[in-house]
């Protein structure tokens, strides 16, 4: 632990190697797995990246919508009226509307993304709300006295105050999102993607199991290196 300066992300060479190892692990695994299951590694990678792209697009929409709604409805009369409504909407059985959506948008990325947004948006929304509820009255008063507004109000106050909720909500939302993604892809019958992949190997338990393991590996790496470090960082900042 020579580099104990706060600016350093990596604490030692060992740390650097462990990070490199874990980041490359999903790629190595994909190669070996493709070899074993006798599929072209490129095809597998394509299926995975296509699904990843869908969930990322859906996530960006969800985060923006959730953040705006949370900011609009977190306090006062707006909260009293709207939160029970959102609570009911959250329980809306999304998949019941799937056939209708396919009817409207066809077997398309739009259908998949819209359904993902409907799943991912809720945990993010409610987590941001709970973050914003932690805003102390005197912080709000300080912001009023010191006349913070517009962009500065967003940057110096609302965004930092909502960040822990945004991150926690993103972790939960994406967790649910991956599940919804594969289900939606299968039900809609998209020609490519992870849903398609697992459907292709419906009769092969070994490939399915190894596929799920590889998938978990990728999610683990993303969580460990992106979300959990962000979560830690945001809690550090919010600490009073």
């Amino acid at each position: 632990m020579k580099n104990k300066h706060s600016g350093h992300i990596y604490r030692s060479w060992k740390h650097v190697f462990v990070v490199i190892f874990f980041v490359s692990l999903p790629f190595l695994y994909t190669l070996l797995f493709a070899e074993y299951a006798n599929i072209a590694a490129g095809v597998l990678a394509q299926d995975f990246s296509l699904s990843l792209l869908r969930i990322m697009v859906a996530y960006v929409f969800s985060a923006v919508i959730a953040w705006i709604c949370a900011v609009l409805f977190y306090r006062g009369r707006a909260a009293t009226i709207s939160l029970p409504i959102f609570d009911v909407l959250q329980s809306f059985p999304t998949f019941a509307a799937l056939p209708l959506a396919v009817h409207v948008w066809g077997v398309s990325d739009t259908t998949v993304v819209v359904f993902l947004v409907l799943t991912v948006v809720w945990p993010i929304f409610f987590s941001i709300i709970s973050s914003l509820k932690l805003i102390r009255d005197d912080w709000q008063e300080a912001v009023e006295v010191f006349d913070l507004r517009g962009y500065q109000y967003f940057r110096k106050f609302l965004l930092p105050a909502s960040l822990p909720g945004l991150i926690t909500g993103s972790i939960i939302g994406l967790g649910e999102g991956w599940e919804a993604l594969i289900a939606t892809e299968m039900l809609v019958g998209t020609p490519r993607g992870l849903g398609k992949f697992f459907q292709t190997f419906a009769d092969n338990a070994t490939v399915t199991a190894l596929g799920i393991f590889g998938f978990l590996l990728a999610v683990f790496v993303i969580n460990k290196f992106v979300w959990l470090s962000m979560l830690e960082w945001s809690h550090e900042k919010m600490d009073q």
Partner: protein
């Protein structure tokens, strides 16, 4: 001295929540004079903080009138909070800069003002620190620096020293008196500590609770610096205590 802030029969009754229908303030009329150090003293829960918030414009639900003297506006007012109200995700520097963001466009000018306040309160070394890394006394110094950075003419203070240990509070009271004199401020402060009120104020309004009324206003003519062991100090304290608990 002319009046800077005039209150005419200010009353407040809670309109919602658990305390709905309870009258907190009843018929309060006051005149705050320019450049004076005015203190509202009374027991906890007597509504003094609510009155301070009404005077500063933070609380808008009340009846009666609060009028600023011509030539003054909302931007001439600033506020020091009991629990400092520093934003934990901003550094000391950024917290002090907060009120300047909407008032001073040039970043260079802002930096000049912030650095001046950092120096005034001996906070230069902590500019890049976060509030949680500071002691209570240092945090309230940041709170003071932030409120003074906007060059207020009227400074509202809500029990600013009650969260601090007595040594730190003593030190900060001294600094506050100097700043009040040097910058020609009008200070309106709330406290529940009678001795603190006598040490600082020109005039002391004594509050009695439920609903709060101004029982009496005492002129404090003791010469400064005030000696807490002087006989006149005790005399005035006795009068104040007697008014609070008749």
């Amino acid at each position: 001295m002319s009046a800077i802030l005039t209150l005419d029969s200010v009353s407040k009754t809670f309109s919602q929540g658990e305390r709905k229908g309870i009258s907190v303030l009843k018929d309060i009329s006051l005149e705050i004079k320019e450049h004076e150090f005015f203190i509202l003293v009374g027991p906890s829960g007597s509504g003094k903080s609510t009155l301070l918030r009404i005077m500063s414009g933070l609380e808008r639900e009340y009846t009666g009138s609060v009028v600023l003297a011509p030539g003054y506006n909302k931007r001439d007012m600033s506020f020091v909070f009991q629990q400092f109200a520093l934003l934990p995700w901003l550094t000391v520097y950024e917290n002090i800069e907060l009120g300047l963001l909407s008032r001073v466009a040039s970043e260079h000018e802002r930096a000049e003002i912030v650095n001046k306040e950092l120096a005034q309160f001996g906070l230069e070394r902590f500019a890049r620190s976060y509030p949680k890394e500071l002691s209570g006394g240092m945090r309230q110094r940041v709170g003071l620096a932030r409120s003074l950075a906007v060059s207020p003419k009227i400074l509202f203070m809500d029990e600013p020293f009650s969260e601090l240990d007595s040594f730190t509070a003593e030190e900060l009271r001294g600094e506050l008196l100097n700043i009040w004199r040097e910058r020609g401020l009008t200070v309106i402060m709330v406290t529940h500590i009678v001795e603190e009120a006598i040490e600082l104020a020109d005039r002391i309004a004594v509050f009695t609770p439920r609903p709060a009324r101004v029982e009496r206003i005492y002129e404090n003519t003791l010469s400064r610096p005030r000696n807490r062991r002087a006989e006149q100090f005790f005399d005035l304290a006795d009068k104040l205590y007697a008014t609070i608990k008749p």
